[in-house]
C-alpha cells in the first residue's frame, strides 16, 4: 500500500468500512511508514478532541418554533369575492347560457346577412322596405317607359320622382356593404333613370323617347317585377 492509498483508506478504516483484505495492508503500512503513522495519530487525536468536547445542546422552545412553522405552512384562507358566493356549477351554467345565446344571436345575424346580402343590421325606424320601394317605383317606371307610345300623356310627376330619388339614396346608403352585386347594379340603374327623369325636358319628345328607351334597355320594369324581395327576405332599412 502506498502513502496516498493509506491516506485514502484512513477514513474507511475509522468507519470500519475497509475491506478485510486491505486491513492487513493498512496496518502494515502504518507500522512501516512513520510519516503516515504520525498522520493517522494526528487525525485520531483531532477526532478525539472533537468527540471529547462536543458542544452541549440546550433545549429550545419547541412549541414556539412549531407555532411559527404551522403558521407558515397553513393554507391561506381564500379571499371572498362577490363571485365566491355563487356555487361554481352555477357560474359555469351561466357562462354556457351566455355563450349559447350569443352564439344563436350571431348565427341569426349571419344568416340574415347571407340571405339579404346586406352587411350590418337594418334601421328598424326606417319607414319602408325595399319591396315597398320597388312597388312604389313600378308604376312610375311603367309611366315613363310607355311615354313614347302614341297618345300617351307626358309624365308630370317630377316631385314624386324627386321623392323616390331621395329614398333611393337612403336605400343605397344602407346597401353600401351589400354582398349582393345584382342588388347594387339594380339600384345603380334606378338612380341613373331617376336622375334622367328629374332633369327631363318634357317639351322635347326626343328626350322623352330616349328616357323610355333607357328604361326598356335596362329592363327596369321587368326587373322590378321579377326581383322578389320575399325570396331574399325583407330588407329592413
Amino acid at each position: 500500500m502506498t502513502c496516498n492509498e493509506f491516506k485514502d483508506a484512513i477514513f474507511l478504516f475509522q468507519d470500519g468500512a475497509l475491506p478485510k483484505a486491505k486491513t492487513s495492508d493498512f496496518a502494515g503500512h502504518r507500522r512501516s511508514c512513520p510519516a503516515c503513522a504520525r498522520e493517522f495519530a494526528a487525525l485520531e487525536e483531532a477526532a478525539a478532541l472533537l468527540a471529547g468536547h462536543p458542544p452541549v445542546v440546550p433545549v429550545p422552545d419547541w412549541e414556539r418554533s412549531w407555532k411559527k412553522i404551522a403558521a407558515a405552512v397553513a393554507p391561506r384562507p381564500r379571499r371572498r369575492t362577490a363571485w365566491s358566493f355563487f356555487p361554481r356549477w352555477a357560474l359555469v351554467a351561466v357562462g354556457f347560457a351566455a355563450f349559447f345565446i350569443l352564439g344563436v344571436a350571431f348565427a341569426r345575424l349571419d344568416f340574415f346577412h347571407a340571405k339579404t346580402g346586406i352587411a350590418g343590421a337594418g334601421d328598424a325606424a326606417f319607414s319602408f322596405t325595399a319591396r315597398d320601394y320597388f312597388s312604389l317605383l313600378q308604376p312610375v317606371m311603367a309611366e315613363y317607359g310607355n311615354a313614347q307610345a302614341p297618345g300617351a300623356p307626358a309624365p308630370e310627376n317630377r316631385d314624386r320622382v324627386r321623392g323616390l330619388l331621395n329614398d333611393l339614396y337612403l336605400l343605397k346608403q344602407r346597401a353600401e356593404g351589400s354582398r349582393d352585386g345584382a342588388l347594387r347594379l339594380l339600384l345603380g340603374d334606378i338612380e341613373l333613370v331617376l336622375l334622367e327623369m328629374v332633369h327631363l325636358d318634357r317639351s322635347r319628345p326626343d328626350d322623352v323617347r330616349r328616357l323610355s328607351e333607357l328604361i326598356q334597355e335596362k329592363g327596369l320594369s321587368m326587373k322590378l317585377r321579377v326581383f322578389k324581395p320575399d325570396n331574399r327576405k325583407l330588407i329592413q332599412i
Binding site: 494526528a42 487525525l43 468527540a51 412549531w66 407558515a72 397553513a74
Partner: protein, 188 residues
Amino acid sequence: MNINEANWVALARAGDPGAMHELYERHRGRIFSLAYRYVRSVPDAEDILQDTFIKAFRSLKNCQLDDDAFFSSWIYRIAVNCAMDHFRKRRREDGDEEWQRDFLAADEGRAAASPESEYRRHELRAQVEQVLGKLSARKRMIVQLRHYQQLKIHEIAEFLGCSQGSVKKQLFVALAQLRGEMDARSGG
C-alpha cells in the same frame, strides 16, 4: 422509512397539520442538534429548525419520496443546506471576528456557571469551537457531520452532493487546521 412514518408523510403531503406536527416531533431533536452544533446559537438554530420544516412541508407535495429516499434523510439534507446558508449569511452580515466572539461568549457564559473542575474542559471546548469557526461553511459542516453526527464519508458525500474524495480531502485539511491551531495555542 418505516410504515408508520410513511403514513405520516402521506398525510402531511395532503396538508394534515396533525401529521406535520408528528413529523416535527420525530425529527426536531436531531435537526436542532445539527443546527445548534453548527451555529452555536439558540436563536439561529431555532431559525434553521423552522426554515427546514417550512421548506420541507412546502415542498413535500411536489417531491417524490420513494422507499429509498427516506424522509429523515431528505429533511436532514434540507437542514444541512439551511444551516450552511444561515452560516454564510451570518458571516457576511457580522464578519468573521464577531462571529467567533459569539462562539466564545456562548461557551464562556456556560463556563462561568460551571464548577471549577469543569472550567478547563469548557475552555478547551471554546478553543475548539473558535478554531472551527474559522473554517469555511462547507468544511465546518463536514467536520460537524463527521464528528458530532457520526456520519460516514459516503453519507456526508450524499448529503452535500459531492464525491467521497472531495469530502476526505476537505476533512483532512480541516482537521490539520484544527490540530495546527490547537498546537499553536497550547504552545503559546
